[in-house]
Symmetry: C2
Subunit: 522 residues, 2 copies
């Protein structure tokens, strides 16, 4: 019996080894199958609930407890994708996805992920795949040009750009560069005294980067903003915070300013903030993750005025520039600051090109050694659509957002909470106008005084929360929320690649229907 089993095992080994896992003809067959699968997915995408409606733990009921011993055919696996994976997906590419900020795909972005995965090169240094490095330096200058960045951020002006995964990485890398630069000046014994600044609207990426870089958690400043400045960071507040820290013997290090915050797309005044920062020697990074894409249009570019004063900026092309996740573009004025902090030069990576100092080795510009050939995505997207069309896409999304804004403004049950800057609207059921109680608007207290005010805020918050949950449970659209000065606010972001006016009109109908139902029950 043992002999038989052994024979069986041998046969099995032989037969299953016959097909190489990269056999070109099998690659072709299965590749075409997936292209059709995805084309059908996009054609049918509106049939799925946007927000996945599964319960925690749903998947383990459908999958075995361990890796199958034998190979399974692609057909079986794809059936499982349909039956068990898709129900657990929240459909970020749906035109009815109005949550967070979008993460946009496009055909060009997709094709390039295919090429990037197909070539599957590891471009840690120039020699490991010269084109991966060279194309990246070129397209980062291209995109920098579209943004009308000062030459000092481009390779052609002795700055330079690098494609990272996400804003968290971009902030972490620049913070580490700033930290080491400062410690070289003031001595490592001051490590615990370094202070990092942002506003209370700055993305959590800043806090996380500070945690990772070893900044004392007590020295993380989320400076308060208010509705009166549309949640922009006030240069005066920054100066006061810096002065207080210096009086306490601390060492101001790094400011992360924002053009387009996550909560409300607030815009910090870069010019004045840089003036303050310069007085105290801070490194200024500006996070234009979302809104940077809109700034390729001349009518939005002014939001980035003052960028010439910052040390670094990062833009997530995967958010609104169709490259698909992940593609975070980071530009710095002084690449050598990054390189000093992030380089290591192990023997196994040494090569003639590196020794000649003629080439960029991007491994020294980022956290990781290995890096994917992401430049290909940006190159394909910029060429496939062209600068003019990319600007048109941005404008069409902004136009749709204006449409929604108009709808909200016409319905007296609702209010717009902060002025719209780009393609995102912050709105909510305006309790007083619907129920005739005390009013909380523009930061002022209504007739019935502070007691009722607090009660009303709570009630209004509960109503809006209920409204959002009810909208999202319908599966027809997906929106998310934020909290501003204790107000629960619904965010409506337009930006999915497939979105058209009809989706925005439908989304508003869904909001109205659910609001009517909820308000009539209260």
């Amino acid at each position: 019996m043992n002999g038989l089993n052994f024979d069986h095992e041998l046969n099995h080994m032989t037969s299953s080894n016959n097909t190489n896992p990269l056999d070109p003809e099998e690659f072709r067959r299965q590749g075409h199958m997936i292209v059709d699968f995805l084309a059908d997915y996009y054609a049918d995408i509106e049939k799925y609930p946007v927000l996945s409606q599964v319960e925690p733990g749903y998947l383990q009921k459908h999958l075995p407890k361990s890796t199958p011993h034998d190979p399974e055919p692609i057909e079986t696996i794809l059936q499982d994708v349909k039956d068990h994976i898709i129900p657990g997906i929240t459909h970020w590419q749906s035109p009815n996805f109005f949550a967070y900020f979008q993460c946009t795909s496009s055909i060009a972005g997709f094709l390039c992920e295919m090429l990037c995965t197909g070539f599957n090169v590891v471009g840690f240094n120039w020699i490991a795949s010269p084109v991966a490095t060279e194309l990246e330096t070129i397209v980062m200058d291209w995109l920098g040009g579209m943004l009308n960045l000062p030459n000092s951020f481009l390779f052609s002006g002795n700055g330079g750009g690098v494609i990272q995964g996400t804003t968290c990485e971009a902030i972490l890398c620049t913070m580490v560069a700033a930290r080491d630069q400062m410690l070289r000046r003031v001595g490592r014994q001051n490590m615990e005294k370094l202070v990092v600044y942002g506003s209370d609207q700055t993305h959590s990426a800043l806090q996380k980067a500070a945690q990772i870089a070893g900044i004392n958690p007590k020295n993380f400043r989320a400076i308060k903003t208010t509705k009166s400045t549309s949640f922009a960071l006030s240069p005066d507040s920054l100066r006061s915070a810096i002065r207080a820290d210096m009086e306490a013997g601390l060492v101001p290090l790094y400011l992360c300013a924002n053009v387009g915050t996550t909560s409300t797309t607030a815009i910090d005044p870069l010019g004045s903030l840089c003036d303050v920062a310069k007085d105290y020697g801070l490194w200024v990074h500006v996070d234009v993750a979302y809104a940077g894409s809109a700034c390729i249009c001349f009518e939005f570019r002014h939001f980035m005025d003052g960028v010439e004063g910052v040390n670094s900026l990062s833009l997530n092309a995967h958010k609104w520039l169709f490259t698909s996740l992940d593609c975070c573009c980071l530009w710095v004025k002084d690449p050598s600051a990054l390189i000093k902090s992030l380089s290591t030069n192990p023997e196994f990576l040494r090569n003639k090109a590196f020794d000649s100092k003629q080439v960029v080795d991007y491994k020294d510009w980022q956290i990781t050694l290995s890096r994917r050939f992401r430049a290909l995505k940006l190159w394909f997207v910029l060429r496939s659509y062209g600068a003019a069309n990319l600007r048109n896409f941005m404008r069409s999304h902004v136009k749709m957002a204006k449409l929604f804004e108009g709808f909200v403004a016409m319905d007296k049950r609702f209010e717009i909470v902060v002025p719209r800057n780009f393609a995102m609207i912050c709105f909510r059921i305006n309790l007083p106008s619907t129920m005739g109680k005390g009013v909380y608007q523009n930061g002022k207290v209504g007739d019935n005084g502070p007691m009722l005010l607090k009660e009303n805020i709570t009630t209004a918050n509960e109503l809006n929360k209920k409204l959002l949950e009810s909208i999202n449970a319908s599966g027809r659209v997906y929106m998310t929320h934020t909290v501003l000065e204790d107000m629960y606010v619904i965010r409506f972001a337009v930006g999915a690649t497939l979105v058209e006016e009809r989706h925005v009109i439908m989304a508003w109908k869904v909001v109205q229907e659910h609001a009517t139902a909820i308000l009539s029950n209260n």
Copy 2:
């Protein structure tokens, strides 16, 4: 004239907006085109020089200086890929790529990158796409099971796994967790006293992680290893280093041990190292980036003996497990240590599932917030090939490495520098046996004493360097080098998905031919 230009611009805007960048039928057409392009690429891959032969700066001559204004058709862009991109690629998927360690693609890995990019979800928390999180917890337990990891590293045993991009991230995240855990115990005033340990063979990822995490650069210990222990880290050396640091008032923090170093696939004795580390309260991480994949075979699993004592381990499935870049699997015994250091909970991400504490939110297990749906890759690969076949693939690569090892052993001009453990061979031209001079073998000095020894080392190094450069310039194969105890050594790693015996046989012929030419000229 202005009016005319404006009309033209308007027409242009209308016509170019007609095609949505995710139009399903256009997606289908272009998607099929790229699948065929890549299938042809794999069929023809041996025609290209493995190592790109371009000169620094070659690409900018072929590309415009800025983003094109108008869209360009896919056909034009693909022609540029053929003409200008492919010449700059070092072909990591070529069967003649024997450099570094491979970064393996497979059909299954490719299909899943397509699906992952197609769905393009951002799985930062459970609700953002439940299946992305749930599938990851399941497949990490699957792969952990294949590795026969102690239950304490699996979700089923209150540990757990997460897919990160690369080893650098895995080490950084665990080091930050260890750092904060230690600082909570000893107080932040000891930040500058923390010490990180590895061997002089440990991957540069450790040094980089320490730099980023804010460890004082003076407190980074690369403990010396020698040929006598096959470059494994000696527990006695570790203990001495720790003791010396403690006597100097420092605080030992973190050890990165290795199973399969980059230079030589050296194996550190995990059990004894953990015993030492336990005595002094260090966090032990083990880097099994490359060799971990082989450890799914029972005959290699013993190299990981002692793993039950470590706190965390990481394996790059993109190296040898066919998932394509990037897919680094990190397991930890105590996820709460990671979460304490890496969590941030901004309002805009709060949701019912999170508040219920029933779900994993992977954003708190990694550096970045946004994350791709990488679990799909691992799931597809494990199912498509099955545990049995994956083991067979590993074994076939090891068998081919043995073949090459046999060739080297039979040619007296060469020596194997360290014993082979997996599928990588370290070899070099053995100068004394080819030129009859003093000998440096097994750490002993030959007849002619230390003076000639040094001279011989230099000559031998130059010869071997010349040999490697000449081999790689041929474009027929690509290998890389390392330096061991001042010896320049050629590395030959077998592991490309497409590699067959005939490629290994040919590679050896190439080595012999170039060696003959070089030696006859000396």
